[in-house]
Amino acid sequence: MYAFDLARPTSVADALKALQEEDAQPLAGGQTLVPTLKARLAAPSTLVSLRGISEMQGVCHDDQGRIHIGAATTHAAVEREVAKDYPGLAALAGQIGDPAVRNRGTIGGSLANNDPSACYPAAALGSGATIVTNAREIPADDFFEGMFTTVLEEDELIFSVRFPVPKVSAYAKFAQPASRFALTGVFVAQFDDGVRVAVTGASEDGVFRWSEAEDALGRDFSADAVAGLSVPAEGMIGDLHGTPEYRAHLVGVMTRRAVAAAG
C-alpha cells in the first residue's frame, strides 16, 4: 500500500470538509477498497472513514412505510434489521460475500462502487429506491451509469438509501463460488403499480432492468409468465467463469427462480 492519512470524522459536515483535500477518498466498510489499496490500484492522500458518523448508521421507517438505511450501515445490520419489514432485501444482504465481509461492508459503499456483479445495485434498482446524498435525491433508475460508474460527483457522499417496500420480492443469485459475487443475480419486486426486475452480474453495462419480464410479470406474476422470454447474449459479460450466452441463459433461469421464491 502507498502511504496515506486516515481521517475519522464524527459528523457528515466534518467528513465533507476532509474530502475537500486533494486526492482524499471516502472509506466505508473497506471490503473492496482495502484490497484495492493493497494492490496499489488506488493512491489516495487521505482516506476519510465514514464509520464513526452516527447519522449515517442504522435503519428507520417513515410515515409512508418506506425504509431508510444509513449509507454506513453494514450488510449484517441490514440483514438483521429489515428481516421482518422487507425480507427480500434482508435475504439479499445476507448473501453478500461471507460473514466477516458482511460485518464490515456497507450499503453506501456497495452502491457507490457499482461493481457490475455486486448484489445491492440489483436491490436498489429492483426496488425503485432513492439514493439520498448530501446534495440531492437520486432515483435508482438514474443513479447507475455502467460498470463501476455512477452519477455521483467527486465531492458527493451517499447519506442514506430510501426503499419503498414491495408486496412481495425475492433475490435469486447464482454465486461465483470463489468470490461469492453474483455470476448472475436477479431481484424481483411486485408493487401495487407494477413489477420491477433488476439483473446484476450479467451485463457489461452493470445492473439493468429487464423491462420485457417486468411487463409479462405485471400481467401474470408467475414463473411461467417469463418462461418464454430471453435476453440477447450480446453485451453480456464473458470471462473464465461464464460466456455471454451462459449469462444470458442465467438471466432467464434466475428470474424464474426469483419469481417462484417471491410468489
Binding site: M1, Y2, A3, F4, D5, L6, R8, G30, Q31, V34, P35, L37, K38, A39, T46, L47, S49, R51, A76, G97, D98, P99, A100, V101, N103, R104, A178, S179, R180
Partner: protein, 160 residues
C-alpha cells in the same frame, strides 16, 4: 506514527500505527500476537479473522486506526489463562479439525462468532458461515464435525 490503543483479549494494549497499518499488522508486529495469520493478503482466506466488538472481521481488511478503542479478541484470547482450551479449540483437537493448522485461528474465531449468534447450527449453517475461511489441506469435513461437536451435536454429522 501515532499511538493507537484498544482492548485486546481483555487487556489494554497500545502500539504505534500509521494511517495504512492494517489491524492484523498492528496485532502481529505491534503487539507480538502472531496467532492471527495472514494467508492471502487479498482478503479472501479468512486466516486473519478476529472479533472486533464481538463481530468476526478480517483483520487484514481494516486499519488499526479504525479499531482504536475497540474490544478485540484474537485466537490468543480463546483459551483460559491457565491454558485450558476453549470448547471449540478442544473439539478441533479431538476431531482432527486441522492438518497444517495455518487456517485454524481464523476457523476457530469464525466458529466462535457463529456459535455466539446461533448456538446449535445445522451442518449447512456451519458450512455457510465458513464461506470466507479457506482450508487448503481440504480439511473442511473435520472442521465442520468439530464445530458441530463444540455445539453439543456430535452425532448430527454423518461419518465419512
Amino acid at each position: 506514527m501515532t499511538k493507537v490503543s484498544m482492548t485486546v483479549n481483555g487487556k489494554p494494549a497500545t502500539a504505534e500505527a500509521k494511517g495504512n497499518t492494517l489491524l492484523v499488522d498492528y496485532l502481529r508486529e505491534g503487539l507480538g500476537l502472531t496467532g492471527t495469520h495472514v494467508g492471502c493478503d487479498t482478503s479472501q482466506c479468512g486466516a486473519c479473522v478476529v472479533h472486533v466488538d464481538g463481530e468476526a472481521v478480517k483483520a487484514c481488511s481494516i486499519f488499526a486506526l479504525e479499531a482504536e478503542g475497540a474490544e478485540i479478541t484474537t485466537i490468543e484470547g480463546m483459551a483460559a489463562p491457565d491454558g485450558t482450551l476453549s470448547a471449540i479449540q478442544q473439539a478441533f483437537q479431538d476431531y482432527h479439525g486441522l492438518q497444517c493448522g495455518f487456517c485454524t485461528p481464523g476457523m476457530v474465531m469464525s466458529a466462535a462468532a457463529l456459535l455466539k449468534e446461533n448456538p446449535r447450527p445445522s451442518e449447512q449453517e456451519v458450512r455457510d458461515y465458513l464461506e470466507g475461511n479457506l482450508c487448503r489441506c481440504t480439511g473442511y469435513h473435520n472442521i465442520v464435525r468439530a464445530i458441530m461437536a463444540a455445539s453439543g451435536q456430535e452425532s448430527a454429522v454423518a461419518a465419512e
